[in-house]
């Protein structure tokens, strides 16, 4: 799992969005459970890290091939 930067505002925004969606989808009680909270933290870091990475639009996106 990538190391997260707690004070990065972009990551905090991702985490807030995940928490809002979790409450809306699963209810406050479930969204507040520790395991879900921990996982939202690591997922926010991963989403933030992926979203941060620029990539040139390549025009024709290739169909996914794996190796």
């Amino acid at each position: 799992m990538p190391e997260h930067t707690d004070d990065d505002p972009a990551r905090e925004a991702v985490l807030d969005e995940l928490r809002r969606n979790a409450i809306e989808t699963y209810g406050e009680e479930r969204a507040a459970e520790r395991l879900l909270q921990l996982l939202m933290e690591s997922t926010a870091t991963a989403i933030w890290r992926v979203s941060q990475e620029p990539i040139e639009p390549s025009g024709h996106e290739p169909v996914s091939r794996h190796a």
């Binding site: 991963a46 996914s64 794996h66």
Partner: protein, 458 residues
Amino acid sequence: MPDTATALHELSATQAARLIRSQELSPVELVEALLARASSVDPRVQAWVTLDPERALVAARAAEGAVTAGAALGPLHGVPFGAKDIFDSEGLPTAAGFKPYASRVPTRDAEPIVRLKKAGAILLGKMVTTQFAYADPSRTRNPWDDSRTPGGSSSGSAAGVAARLIPFALGSQTAGSVLRPAAYNGVVGLKPTYGRVSKRGVLPLAWSLDHVGVLARSVSDCALFLAAVAGHDPEDPASVPSVIAEPLPPMNLDAPRAAAPRLGVVREALQISTDRLREHTLKVASQFEAAGAQVSEVSLGESLDLILAVQHVTMQTELATVHWQLLEQYPGSHQPRLRANIEVGRLVPGVVYLHAQRLRRRIREAMRRSLDGIDALLLPTAVDVAPGRETTGDTSLQAPFSLVGFPSLSLPSGVLESEGLPLATQLVALPWQEATLLQTARWCEAQLPLMPAPPAFA
């Protein structure tokens, strides 16, 4: 009969196949010996979910008859194997550790089982998996130390091979579920190139990351396995047609190599390993260099934190897609970590998943470049030895190669004397270069001390 000093349960797949072919070993006696071993040892290890003694003995008697009759024999003729309990098996429950599936009995074998049986192998039974091959620990014990995890998700397959319950076993890897259990249990684990081995009939976790692999006691066993199961399957959309997949050449791993291998020690892997694993890996690399290998330091070409972020987003989104309806259909039946991952995975935006796939292609090209001019990457299989049973371990050093689909192999490379736990070294090659990977691994294996059985199971 084999050397009387060698108990039948000690035989590797390669040794057993050779002895059966030369009529020095009866497949019936081998199956009976392994069933007896299961009775005496498995209560401690808990590697088997289901044994199939009646049908295994019928198959063993038929195998013995074929040998006696001088019939054409497959490369694994008469050799028993186990299958992780996510591989469909005709007439045997396939539950994936999921209670609602306890009575799910497939009517058809998964393709890898079909191919192993065609090669003459005998399915002895099904082995414990973590639920749906995810990260909630299973009941299986590590034969080296039952306070430690055997790893997962192929926990039964790895612990069973280590405890001499079975010569080899089918496993699967989405992040690190073949290589990490192999490392923690002191056995060899192979994950071939994505698309090399059919997944038809294998319950999915995350489709673009799931690989079929094997746990065995030697590199030669892995080569025998791969030759039997590799090849295109039109029923598996991820199986790569032979016009694209480079064919697997015939392998004679015992033939002398023209030259010692060229190995690249992965800088990023050493940076995140514990001191003792870093020191062990550097010692192993020096040992290979002293034996003639060309050893250099290489980089993966992309930062490890980005690689693992792409893997996280990909795996979580796909497993949520695969499992969210099942979660609603059977509330309360999923293990806590899997359930939480499905729930959070549903919240990952689609554009992030797709952006991750574009980055994944970039990462794959960078990793290809890191293998320019070398035969294999060399790195620790895991960041440390097996941790406690509350986890299945850290996937950080196996997951990058599941993400890009490159073939990887874990080789036992020593024992950490202070804790009595196995140490392991990972080798990774370019896609479709399993022959190079296995030949390199065989050379490395020959430089290392023979891995003993876990002391309590020797």
